[in-house]
């Protein structure tokens, strides 16, 4: 097969260090990038804005959460609140006339600051206690975003004025798509590279066993806090992208626990600690309820019955929950692991007992 590789024949150090050692992987990545870059020219505008843009944004958010959960092994149940902080900060700044580029960074910094304050409080404890602390953060941030000063009240929406990024107006679908694509591409590139830096290795050490890491001279507290900082920064930037490129009018209920749960499901279903995972997970979690709903509706009308409206409304929740349970029980490393198994099988085919 074109996929196979026999023996390791590195002749230069650069070859061993590169992100994708196999030619096939490099070609595949370029192929996928070409598809994504040319998407606006052959995908219907409705699908582009309705499916591709949210998929890319949610993938970026899941990548940020995955750095914390898969990279550093810290659970976070309040990532929706982090995204909300970024969204509200940047939208307020944009409304004051600050350029979007600065507003995005400030949104990220604000999220990172608040996220790290809660993180610092939470990192005195681990595991289950950390889960509770981040859950408490979600509710406390919810309370403050519902106040009059920040959002204008529980039901108020905040309009995003027309914005431009690097001189290009984000009014057209095309510009919006490329803007979102660019941000998510940068985040993915960062995540791919972080693993071969000292920061990424320190995080992996902390994830595997924090005492052992501490004994080896990796400051556990410092790196956990750094992971919180970076991940919250990405969450804040994604929050502002979400606000200006997709929602365009934000209200507090868009950043409640439901969003956190959705992102958590994406990370688990996609694959903890992988870069490919969040993209697959985001696709499954965003689109499975829609597909399921349509299929059920179609099946019901074919049989001649009606699906109760309550069932239709609660189908997404049921789907998230069941997907989380099933993946944790049968494939804890998610869709990315399934892809990886398939890839490894092809790598050594037909000698399935060979290593590598």
């Amino acid at each position: 097969m074109f996929y196979r590789r026999a023996g390791i024949r590195h002749t230069r150090y650069q070859e061993e260090r590169q992100l994708f050692p196999l030619t096939f992987d490099r070609v595949l990545i370029l192929f996928v990038l070409a598809i994504l870059l040319s998407a606006p020219f052959w995908i219907d505008r409705l699908y582009l804005v309705g499916y591709m843009v949210p998929w890319l944004i949610w993938s970026g958010a899941a990548l940020g959460l995955n750095l914390l959960m898969g990279g550093a092994g810290q659970i976070h149940l309040g990532y929706g609140a982090v995204i909300g902080i970024g969204a509200y900060t940047s939208v307020h700044l944009v409304r004051f006339g600050v350029p979007l580029e600065i507003a995005m960074i400030s949104g990220g910094l604000m999220s990172a600051a608040i996220g790290s304050i809660f993180g610092a409080a939470a990192l005195r404890v681990k595991g289950i206690y950390l889960a509770m602390a981040t859950l408490a953060m979600q509710y406390i941030v919810d309370f403050f975003t519902q106040t009059k000063i920040i959002s204008g009240g529980t039901l108020a929406t905040l309009q995003v004025p027309p914005v431009s990024f690097l001189g290009i107006s984000l009014k057209s679908d095309l510009a919006t798509y490329y803007f979102v694509f660019g941000v998510t591409f940068l985040i993915a590139l960062y995540m791919l590279n972080i693993r071969r830096t000292s920061f990424g290795r320190a995080l992996a050490a902390v994830r595997e066993k924090d005492y052992a890491a501490q004994i080896l001279g990796v400051s556990t507290y410092r790196y956990k806090l750094l992971a919180f900082w970076v991940s919250s920064f990405i969450g804040g930037v994604i929050g502002s992208v979400l606000a200006v490129a997709y929602l365009r009018a934000i209200s507090p209920d868009q950043f409640h626990l439901e969003l956190s749960v959705q992102l958590l499901a994406m990370v688990i279903v996609g694959g903890l600690g992988s870069v490919l995972g969040p993209f697959l997970g985001a696709a499954l979690i965003l689109f499975a309820p829609i597909v399921l709903n349509n299929t059920l509706g179609w099946a019901a009308s074919a049989v001649g019955t009606e699906i109760p409206i309550d069932l239709r409304a609660h189908l997404p929740l049921l789907a998230y929950g069941l997907l989380i349970v099933v993946f944790l029980l049968y494939e804890p490393l998610g869709l990315a692991k399934i892809y990886d198994n398939f890839r490894k099988y092809l790598l050594v085919w037909p000698f399935r007992h060979a290593q590598k």
């Binding site: 602390a133 859950l135 953060m137 749960v261 049921l318 349970v325 029980l329």
Partner: protein, 295 residues
């Protein structure tokens, strides 16, 4: 400040807190035996209330029969969750098991309102809605009865821990390997803990369902139950009672005294603030045992 108003708030808060404590009893039971926090406890309370309502409404069973039926069903439901899902997670990182319970919570929250309807259902357990007057103090009767029943159930669970099987469960809580070596079936004890947690959730679900109606919002009891369990120390049943009283009274006072000043609903963040404050100042709660991890 009006002293009578404060007395009324405190008294109602005491009963509400005891009703919260019943939910968190299940969390403590599971933590004691298996060392994980059950984030599905709120959804189990909702499930118990839904099942009680379904048995009554779909099969026309009177309430005094549908409650025990629901309790028995939920006991086996809890055992089934442990047997089919949680037992497979033994040996996995504890985070995975917690996320699994969260997945169960989300799935149940979608399943029951989806199948049986999301509208608020009335669960009548024969308590009159008329308030009770104690001098000038006004007490909600269903909350008072709920609080008393909850206290009785929590005390009963304390008594259970002094029975033969209770001692077995205490042994499992103390050291799983040691209990294994003296012939205790650890998995069975953990399964029973899940069953009892589901029963306590059902009791709380029925009491709350009788107070505010049965719908998905019963699963929001989770955050209050977590606050109580953490403040009480996660592995202490007397801690649950005291922490329940503290959370209930704090919430009631915040609603009555702070809300008119800040003109916002502080009720929902009292529990979160208590969680955060406990973790900051006394991470192992009021009565919890500090875990010493060996390197």
């Amino acid at each position: 400040m009006d002293i009578m108003l404060i007395a009324e708030l405190v008294l109602n808060g005491v009963f509400v807190g005891l009703m919260y404590a019943l939910v968190s009893l299940g969390i403590v039971l599971i933590y004691k035996t298996s060392g994980l926090v059950n984030l599905a406890q709120g959804a189990l309370a909702m499930t118990g209330a839904y099942i009680t309502w379904v048995i009554g409404a779909y099969f026309g069973v009177p309430i005094w029969l549908s409650i025990p039926a629901a309790v028995v069903l939920m006991f086996f439901g809890g055992v089934l969750i442990e047997r089919s899902a949680l037992r497979r997670m033994i040996g996995q990182p504890v985070i995975m098991a917690i996320m699994l319970t969260l997945g169960i919570e989300i799935a149940l929250r979608g399943l029951l309102p989806g199948v049986f309807g999301a509208a608020v259902k009335k669960l009548d357990i024969g308590v009159s809605p008329a308030p009770l007057f104690l001098g000038d103090i006004l007490i909600n009767q269903s909350i008072m009865i709920g609080g008393v029943v909850s206290l009785a159930l929590i005390l009963a669970s304390l008594a259970f821990f002094n029975s033969r099987y209770g001692i077995v469960m205490r042994a499992v809580a103390d050291d799983q390997t040691a209990s294994w070596s003296v012939g205790i079936r650890v998995e069975k004890a953990i399964a029973v803990a899940w069953g009892l947690a589901a029963v306590s959730a059902t009791g709380a679900g029925i009491l709350w369902g009788a107070t505010q109606g049965v719908d998905w919002s019963l699963s929001l009891l989770l955050i209050k139950a977590l606050a109580i369990a953490i403040l009480g120390g996660l592995d202490s049943i007397p801690g649950v009672i005291l922490a329940g009283l503290i959370v209930g009274v704090a919430e009631s006072l915040a609603t009555g005294l702070i809300d008119p000043v800040v003109k916002a609903s502080t009720r929902d963040i009292v529990a979160s603030v208590i969680i955060l404050a406990t973790l900051l100042f006394k991470p192992h709660g009021l009565f919890g045992h500090e875990h010493i991890e060996r390197v």
